[in-house]
Symmetry: C2
Subunit: 219 residues, 2 copies
DNA sequence: GGCGGAACTCATCATCTGTTGACTTCTCTG
DNA sequence: CAGAGAAGTCAACAGATGATGAGTTCCGCC
């Protein structure tokens, strides 16, 4: 970037020839939200430790100190980022509304759908951060278990002694598709169209939800 | 670890009273391997960016510079770490040996078994590193696809037009159990006994391997 | 017995990180 | 129109990190 040496003597009596770069910016851009979006994208791409305040600030076109000005510490920024812009209760309610026989497919469609939506970035940020921050991992796990899997299982009337196993199985299959598609971007999983995956994964979820468990303990 | 102040006067005639801290160490401990193990453990616990040379060196009871002495750069160390001490071809051959009808269960048993074995640490290190190093991710993906999933699918005679979808589904379920159990340590998945998981996950894998695909494209 | 090289440590470097505080500029309120 | 405070920038800090190179100690070979 060549330095601006244009003299421009006394063009406007109050304005200096070179525009100031410090101080409050004119206009009213919602800078806070801009920073949050940049943070989401960066956390999603690099994880918590991999992301840097400087990188996030650059992405938002802003001074690094401004990030601290708004959010204090990096951890605080992460916490603010993880506020996922999707109402899980609502979504789960919609899914559980239909017939139980096709619940698995609807569940698969919901999970894959939400991750393909704009909210997916925030979710990916949360996921990636969970991988190197156990505290975040705990938050996500508890939320997922009580708000999503738990409620769905309760809805289908799962017997208590099977609850843990079925929850574990459900989590494993959902986690696997999402991890493979959106975090590790494994081929051929990542490029598979949603419509191809939903019925198959849905069938698996359905079995984990209401299907018979293979004789536990028998060979 | 408290410092060892035991005087042990003149235990060996040639040893000075105060052990020297610099220079070559006596005896013949395989220090290189010690460092590798420490690196595996650290990479598995913290991922690539999260792990530090100093941390690895401390874990191995060694000067940080020695790590560079042996492995050059951090990336080289990672590459040396990822050499997984398990022969996949062998394992896959064992699994594919039995009857096709129970292949899924044997596959599930193998995957969960290997990860529960000592080799699991190395695998976890590779996995975690894959999350923040796309190059490693690519290596793992290609290896997994061609050496494991690909060979198993070829063994069952999967029609070519279904190959991608079935591979994607298999990967998603295997990845999910492993990620949940060994990387994110999600409960109740992590504490579920292997024997409880194998039959259920095995059934899913079996369907992804040889079962009918739910009418693709139909509603 | 001495000597070359391997094994190992120490001190140090440049760089990058999160964070801070002083400072400037704008907007809003009374 | 004055001034308080929000919005924003700048320069700098301390700490940690990967890496380097010189130096020290030991082993094995001739």
């Amino acid at each position: 970037m060549p330095p601006d040496h244009s003299a421009q003597p006394d063009a406007a009596h109050r304005l200096p020839s070179v525009p100031r770069r410090t101080g409050r910016r004119p206009g009213n851009p919602d800078t806070r939200e801009t920073i949050l979006q940049a943070a989401r994208a960066t956390f999603a791409a690099s994880g918590f430790t991999g992301a840097t305040i400087r990188g996030i600030a650059a992405r938002a076109g802003v001074d690094p100190a401004l990030v601290h000005h708004y959010f204090g510490t990096k951890e605080n920024l992460l916490l603010a980022t993880v506020q996922v812009p999707v109402n899980p209760r609502e979504v789960v309610d919609t899914v559980t509304a239909g017939p139980v026989q096709t619940l698995g497919t609807r569940l698969a469609g919901m999970v894959l759908g939400v991750w393909a939506s704009p909210a997916g970035t925030a979710l990916a940020a949360a996921m990636r951060s969970a991988i190197d921050d156990p505290a975040i991992a705990r938050t996500i796990r508890e939320f997922l278990l009580s708000q999503v899997i738990g409620r769905v299982l309760r809805h289908v009337g799962c017997p208590p002694q099977e609850l843990d196993l079925r929850a574990a199985l459900l989590a494993s299959q959902m986690l696997g598709v999402i991890m493979g598609r959106h975090i590790l971007k494994l081929e051929p999983l990542a490029s598979q169209p949603i419509e191809a995956l939903v019925p198959q994964v849905g069938a698996t979820l359905q079995r984990y939800l209401t299907g018979p468990l293979v004789t536990p303990g028998a060979e």
